[in-house]
């Protein structure tokens, strides 16, 4: 796979042709259990999701808030592993060969799997890119070389704190798309009043030709609509995961209409990127 014709590049090119922003939905693999998680994953493209960010569960997600940490712990408790996460993507690929899937998580499970072996297995399963939260550009080479050989994109994160002197470091070697973290916070936080996201996106666009996705703190269809005017894609995570948590019974099992409720919400978000 060359650097320009992967699923991620094709999808962003198609979005540019349609002249609209894309919707990126985040769910944690295997949350609340493997079967429900797989059903949700399979149904996201038809609900209007353009790119899927699939969380690799980790016991100690230090950049995530309580909502996504709880999702990780539910998935782990239900027996999720990194190997099963890859199998889930392989299953998804048998019915969808165009929607990009980016795995998001922390470095330790990848190290435990073996970096080389993981890159190959992820690529074989049909994964398109990786977001490894605790691997800043300075520590990235250990994963980047095997990942690139396997044709995976390493998605770089940029935060409000990266916009000054650090921007060159963040952009050097970036590929796929840039993930702009809307605030100095963790997943599930609210965007503080006065945060100038459109200006930050403008600065990033000036410095890079990559598509810009913006995430963190985007919770409602209205949020999505507002940001879709500026960014190439909008990420919604905690708000979706929160809806999964809200549709569990007392024993923690999925209620019968969990999938429907989550997908209804996702459809609203998808309409928003298409309306703005």
């Amino acid at each position: 796979m060359s650097r320009t014709d992967g699923r991620i590049e094709k999808r962003f090119a198609a979005l540019a042709d349609e002249d609209r922003a894309g919707l990126i939905a985040f769910i944690t693999a295997g949350d609340p259990d493997a079967a429900t998680g797989s059903d949700l994953l399979a149904a996201l493209p038809a609900a209007g999701v353009d790119l899927i960010e699939l969380g690799m569960p980790f016991s100690d997600p230090m950049a995530d808030g309580p909502v996504i940490q709880a999702a990780s712990l539910r998935a782990l408790k239900a027996g999720m592993t990194l190997k099963k996460t890859l199998s889930m993507v392989a299953g998804f690929r048998r019915q969808d060969d165009t929607t990009p899937v980016v795995l998001m998580g922390y470095f330790n499970p990848i190290l435990a799997f073996g970096v080389e072996a993981f890159a190959k297995a992820a690529s074989t399963a049909g994964v398109d890119g990786l977001i490894v939260v605790d691997l800043p550009p300075e520590e990235e080479p250990e994963l980047a070389d095997p990942a690139r050989r396997a044709g995976l994109r390493l998605i770089r994160l940029a935060a409000p704190t990266s916009l000054g002197d650090r921007l060159d470091c963040v952009l050097d070697g970036a590929e796929g798309f840039l993930y702009y973290i809307s605030m100095t916070g963790i997943t599930g936080d609210s965007v503080p009043a006065g945060a100038n996201i459109s200006r930050a996106i403008g600065d990033l666009k000036e410095a890079s030709s990559l598509p810009i996705a913006v995430g963190f703190g985007i919770k409602t269809a209205a949020d999505v609509r507002a940001l879709a005017r500026h960014a190439d894609a909008v990420v919604v995570g905690s708000a979706i995961v929160e809806l999964i948590a809200a549709n569990l019974d007392r024993a923690g099992a999925a209620k019968p209409d969990l999938t429907k409720k989550v997908l209804d919400f996702v459809r609203q978000l998808a309409e928003s990127v298409r309306l703005s």
């Binding site: 016991s59 950049a63 592993t81 470095f107 435990a112 800043p136 650090r166 100095t184 916070g185």
Partner: protein, 404 residues
């Protein structure tokens, strides 16, 4: 007095690596501030005024140098090596943690930060941080696992009395690792005005190096004091190890002298053959957590396992990256002691020396009890008595089946 710059070898390298360990594995949001702390620390350690203020505070506020005490009754009881105790439990606040808390708050002030956060396990680092925050008039929030809050009530009260806000952490195993997750999350949110005072030689570079440098006063004093008492270097050093701040503090000044044997004692909890221990080197594998690559207790799938130790201060599933490297190079031997062995040592020290040690150094003492009898009488052994046991009386009483 030696400056803070005089330390073993050239490690870590410029990117904070000790061999294949260490580094800066943090979210992009934190990278700029981590780099800023590094630049500020590199400037500060070369600044005589910074070093002078640090030395003065250690002398007049902490009460350093701490005594190097010949434990005559313990020595005769064990019938081997001549045992010296480095009395860091006599420091202000009752443990060695105050050494690096002072160094870090001086750096925070130099960087113009207006708010302090810290994580704590046993509460010793939390108390030390709350103390220096009071002393320097900065608001301070301490993150502490709910389980640790329950078993370390006296320290929780101390922190509050000192004006700190103690935030209970109810996620995960509700112990030290979860408190550190929560402190990192707070730092991400408040990166502009907050300084994170990390409580051990772990976390992203420059923390492992910086905390080591601030703690290395323990070993430098020991070297001078033993020379005065015995006219020579020690033959062996023994310290307990959770993250490893007191151990590296004692060892750092001696690492270049290969004649000095060193032993770091991990918490074996209910036994290394159980899943309930905190022995990252004996039973862990290299991985990445809390900003650095090091030995971690983890599952085959790379999930972090909860640690267990009777001592809240050793109850951490990782170890500082320099220790991972010192283990791999063989320079320091990493051994362990169980809860039971530590409890026995805790009582022995109280009865023979009239010193109630913290349960953390009781682990070091448990190994001294095994090692000293095998050594000749002219063997000089120094153990770091890095904390006092007042905070542990409830835990110990419960373990010993006594009502108080």
């Amino acid at each position: 007095m030696a400056s803070l710059g005089d330390n073993f070898g050239d490690l870590p390298d410029a990117a904070g690596h000790f061999g294949r360990f260490g580094g800066r594995y943090v979210a992009e949001t934190l990278m700029p501030v981590v780099l800023e702390v590094e630049r500020a620390y590199e400037e500060a350690r070369q600044d005589p005024a910074f070093n002078e203020e640090f030395d003065q505070l250690l002398r007049h506020y902490v009460g350093r140098p701490s005594p190097l005490y010949f434990a005559e009754r313990l020595t005769s009881h064990l019938g081997g090596a001549k045992i010296y105790l480095k009395r860091d439990e006599l420091n202000h606040t009752g443990a060695h943690k105050i050494n690096h808390a002072i160094g870090q708050i001086l750096l925070a002030r130099r960087m113009g930060r207006r708010r302090i956060i810290a994580e704590t396990g046993a509460g010793q680092h939390g108390v030390a941080t709350a103390t220096v925050a009071a002393r320097f008039g900065l608001p301070c929030t301490i993150f502490m696992g709910q389980r640790d809050i329950e078993r370390q009530a006296p320290n929780v009260f101390r922190m509050k009395l000192l004006g700190a806000e103690v935030k209970a952490v109810t996620s995960g195993s509700q112990t030290l690792k979860d408190a550190m997750n929560e402190a990192l999350r707070d730092w991400v949110r408040n990166v502009e005005d907050t300084f994170y005072i990390i409580g051990t030689v772990a976390g992203p570079h420059p923390y492992p190096k910086m905390v080591r440098d601030f703690q290395s006063v323990i070993g430098r004093e020991t070297k001078a004091q033993l020379h005065q008492a015995e006219g020579r270097r020690p033959d062996s050093l023994v310290a307990c190890i959770g993250g490893g701040s007191n151990a590296i503090g004692l060892f750092a000044a001696f690492l270049d002298d290969q004649r000095v044997e060193m032993f770091a004692v991990e918490a074996a909890g209910k036994g290394l053959d159980t899943e309930q221990h905190a022995a990252s080197i004996a039973a862990g594998r290299p991985g990445v957590l809390h900003g650095n690559k090091t030995y971690l207790l983890q599952t085959e799938d790379g999930q972090i396992r909860a640690a267990h130790s009777i001592s809240a201060g050793l109850d951490y599933p990782g170890i500082g990256p320099e220790h991972a490297w010192l283990s791999e190079t063989g320079r320091v031997k990493y051994v362990s002691a169980t809860d039971q062995e530590a409890l026995e040592a805790f009582q022995l020290c109280s009865r023979l020396e009239g010193i109630i040690p913290a349960l953390e150094p009781a682990h070091a003492l448990a190994y001294v009890i095994k090692l000293a009898p095998k050594k000749p009488r002219n063997h000089l052994m120094v153990m770091n008595l890095c904390g006092r046991g007042d905070k542990d009386i409830f835990t110990a009483a419960e373990a010993l089946g006594m009502d108080i």
